[in-house]
Symmetry: C2
Subunit: 545 residues, 2 copies
């Protein structure tokens, strides 16, 4: 039996476009003689559809698309993901289902049993868990169909769940397993995914065909990396990351021979690819092409710019240098070198002529109070306004350049440097920013060395350095990682050898700056715990604050 | 038996403060001879604690607080809400529990069974559903303890769930039912709540003691309105809305006599109280006092200002008029009248001197393109910046004045009039804004009549009116209500008699402006479907857009 796996990039709710992509892959599979083609989870509407699932009209359109696709299943089995209405009066209205189409009809339907409801996932908000576990017979083969999380509770060892669908399905002696996934990227997730698949295959001794969605859905990035694993728990093939891909596999070959195997996984390279995919996907899905960003001469904006050029092309990226009287001499020079290295258009727009009128206007209302964070923020907001004005006039999207370390501790100005339609580095710690810059410079120096080596500064008052107000980044990043990713409390972090006062100060900064993060752009998620929909915190509270 | 119900306002994670509030109520209950006191859901940590629940340190502190409170239970039964660790390896880590303390020990623990996971609720993200339904015997009485949603699936008629805890508990012949709730306000919810209680009592024929949390948790407002319902399904007492309240009830009296009964419920009055509670709670919980806002002379800022004065006092509210060359003569006059009526400090800060330098600076980069939304946005952002500068310099919180109709269709400037720490009217449709203004003016004209009667305008270009770009508000609001609250699709709304082109245009505006709402302040929730955590939409999609 020849099986086609289609790792595709869908647009949420774009039924026409998604159906067309699905039918193109079906046509290709037919052409090369496949008997079965499998798509990713909720492929008809794209994943995650979020509260669109609560609209009957949306569900009706899913059904219409399914019916249209069914008419193309006369000589091929098509397995795809679609929300299906729960016919029972009790329980949630929908199932997250895989439908097996053949000969124009629905041959089999499987409902997802394990519904991730943590981090960025909200599946129990919408779906009733399935509780029927039947294999489907097709052309003499017995196929177990599962959806994403269903294979993540092997032998009930995942504490989140109390069921293990595969433990039931295996009793019916399947010849192989299909898994339809929409499993988002995190830099350490592709390794986890292979481990989970390996543990499954070691337990159940049948080949697995795992199809993942690919592409960016605003903040959530899907890396693809679909996997075929042979019954001896070897990776027979792993599809590329961050690329649409349709491949065909001979079941007999998968069970008998060695395949191309898995891809290289390097943390920083993966993050770079993910960010490029995130920028590209955001623009493509909005039907826009051009980005603008402020270039301070610092490393965050330099890296964001280099990634934007990689994603959109130099001709679609425009940089703006906005020096003030507090800017050091090298700031504009470094930013100009970067722009020249990358070959982008840039403009130098000093903010003095818009900054000073604010002081003149507001000074009477400041009633003699000294220069403080207010004046710093005015400068940052002058810059935000200039960028937004150019963005509005020319139809650019403003890219936000704030990194995760700054966003965590609130080191940024709301409506100033925190402006932008998309936060490129909001899930990238400062030390990872450096590593990405080095990665980009590997072949040739695109990001000026001075940008990398000078001490970070917001340059909003004379001689300011980040280290005046924050612990050194290597230390800060470690404390943040323990608190944000590992969810350690202050006691645990201090016990790990960090200075108590520093730990308490950092945690307090994180918790009291939730209000700023509430108002920032969506953050491209590359870690297992990003700011945004995956981390839901009270804005007003008194815990560690 | 005398029973005390404590309807209190907790701060999320403020273990010391919450414990102290609980112990004060316990002392009062003891003093008046109560044998039992009952608090609201998750009273120890406050509801909703959100992802703080994922921190072991947070759970440990809940347990410590519980132990401390237990030492005060020697001569009174104390029932309160607390997250309890699930001892099983399978399933979620925690239960959402009610603990019955007596004689310094835990007499009984009940785990919530029905976990709301819709709208603003995420309970299945954290909690394993309880599946043990046992009444507790205390001083000769048999008590059924339930938590919030547990009583919202009477006889399994709520399609969300497949269990009905009360159907099991009633078999054990309880003398009365306690319900610990954290049930958020929506203007039509207090009626729903009484209906649900009534249906329960009619089915189970025992008195219900229902204790609700009170107070604002950023966007989610808890109205209290705790209820004692006698076994003949009459409201024996309903506690006040939006006020902390501790009251004592004789069980015998509740079963034999008539109580004070329920409160009057008027939609607009309730919304007004809710918004005042929301503003007050936000400031109090942040430990801040003073608000600033822009006064345009229009009705949204006028209403926001009046509500702020009601919540914080005139001495704590400051208004800023920021006329431009496009402002009509009456704008400043109307705003000044309002400020004088309310007795607040105000300043007039014309934006010309900061607006024109932007044009001078940016015109070369605009390359002769005509005046468009860019210049409109610059003005709105000039104003946002002035307000934020004053907010920074003086430690005010900027109140956002955008209403729900504008927020829905994206009729506002990001980083301009959409600035602010808290959105007061973001869940109030324009026609409700008018009704609230009339309500406030009932006793005396605080909001100038001209502000109410003039046609709404953003005044960002000559002669501009809202109706130039939007359908008339009475029509717009109805379409928005059908789409947002009722989740009707375009077909249904058109079938209800609305013009097709208008419907499609409005729905498209709603869906394509999700990116703006992603970056706005938390919205005080007064309807059953507010923007924010209760409405989770893809930012980039192609559904109805």
């Amino acid at each position: 039996m020849q099986i086609t796996l289609a790792q595709l990039d869908f647009i949420i709710g774009d039924f026409e476009g998604n159906t067309s992509k699905i039918l193109t892959a079906v046509a290709e599979a037919k052409k090369v003689g496949s008997e079965l083609i499998c798509f990713s989870e909720l492929s008809i509407c794209g994943y995650p559809p979020r509260d669109f699932l609560e609209f009957e009209d949306f569900i009706r359109r899913c059904k219409l698309a399914l019916e249209q696709i069914a008419t193309h299943s006369h000589d091929i089995g098509i397995v795809l993901g679609v929300p299906v209405v729960n016919p029972q009066p009790e329980g949630k209205d929908l199932y997250n289902s895989a439908v097996f189409l053949y000969e124009g009809k629905i041959l089999h339907t499987y409902h997802k049993c394990l519904l991730p409801t943590y981090d960025v996932f909200d599946e129990y908000r919408y779906f009733e868990p399935g509780n029927e576990f039947k294999i489907v017979e097709f052309k003499g083969k017995r196929i177990a169909i599962t959806i994403c999380e269903d294979i993540w509770n092997i032998g009930n060892e995942n504490p989140l769940y109390i069921n293990c669908p595969m433990d039931v399905l295996i009793l019916q002696n399947p010849d192989f397993v299909l898994n339809l996934s929409a499993s988002p990227f995190a830099w350490n997730h592709s390794v986890n995914r292979l481990n989970i698949l390996r543990t499954n295959v070691e337990r159940y001794k049948v080949p697995f065909f795992y199809v993942n969605q690919v592409g960016a859905q605003t903040e959530i990035l899907f890396d693809g990396g679909s996997v075929v694993m042979s019954a001896d728990a070897k990776v027979w093939d792993e599809m590329p990351y961050f690329e649409s891909c349709v491949r065909h596999y001979q079941l007999a070959q998968v069970t008998s021979s060695q395949g191309p195997g898995e891809q290289v996984k390097d943390k920083i390279t993966l993050i770079r690819q993910a960010l490029v995919c995130g920028i590209k996907g955001y623009f493509e899905k909005l039907g826009l092409k051009k980005a603008i960003l402020g270039l301070s001469g610092g490393i965050d904006s330099a890296l964001t710019c280099a990634l934007a050029v990689e994603a959109l092309g130099a001709e679609n990226v425009r940089g703006v240098m906005m020096p003030s009287s507090f800017s050091s001499g090298h700031s504009v020079d470094d930013a100009v070198s970067l722009a020249k290295n990358l070959g982008i258009r840039y403009d130098i727009v000093p903010i003095k002529s818009v900054y000073e009128p604010y002081l003149d206007l507001l000074n009477p209302l400041f009633e003699g109070k000294p220069f403080d964070v207010t004046e710093e923020n005015i400068q940052a907001r002058n810059r935000g306004m200039i960028l937004m004005a150019l963005s509005n006039k020319w139809g650019y999207i403003l890219l936000n350049t704030t990194n995760k370390s700054e966003m965590a501790v609130g080191y940024g100005t709301l409506y100033g440097d925190m402006c932008g339609g998309l936060s490129v580095l909001g899930d990238v710690y400062k030390m990872e920013v450096y590593a990405l810059a080095e990665n980009i410079n590997k072949e040739m120096e695109l990001i000026p060395q001075n940008t990398i080596s000078k001490p970070p500064s917001a340059e909003l008052r004379p001689g300011q350095k980040d280290s005046d107000s924050l612990p050194p980044y290597p230390l800060l990043d470690e404390i943040l990682y323990e608190y944000i990713e590992l969810r350690q409390g202050p006691g645990d972090i201090i016990a790990n050898g960090f200075d108590e006062a520093t730990v308490r100060r950092v945690l307090k900064l994180v918790n009291t700056n939730e209000f700023k993060r509430h108002q920032t752009a969506p953050v491209l998620r590359v870690s297992s715990k990003a700011f945004g929909m995956g981390r839901r915190m009270p804005i007003v509270g008194k815990y560690l604050s």
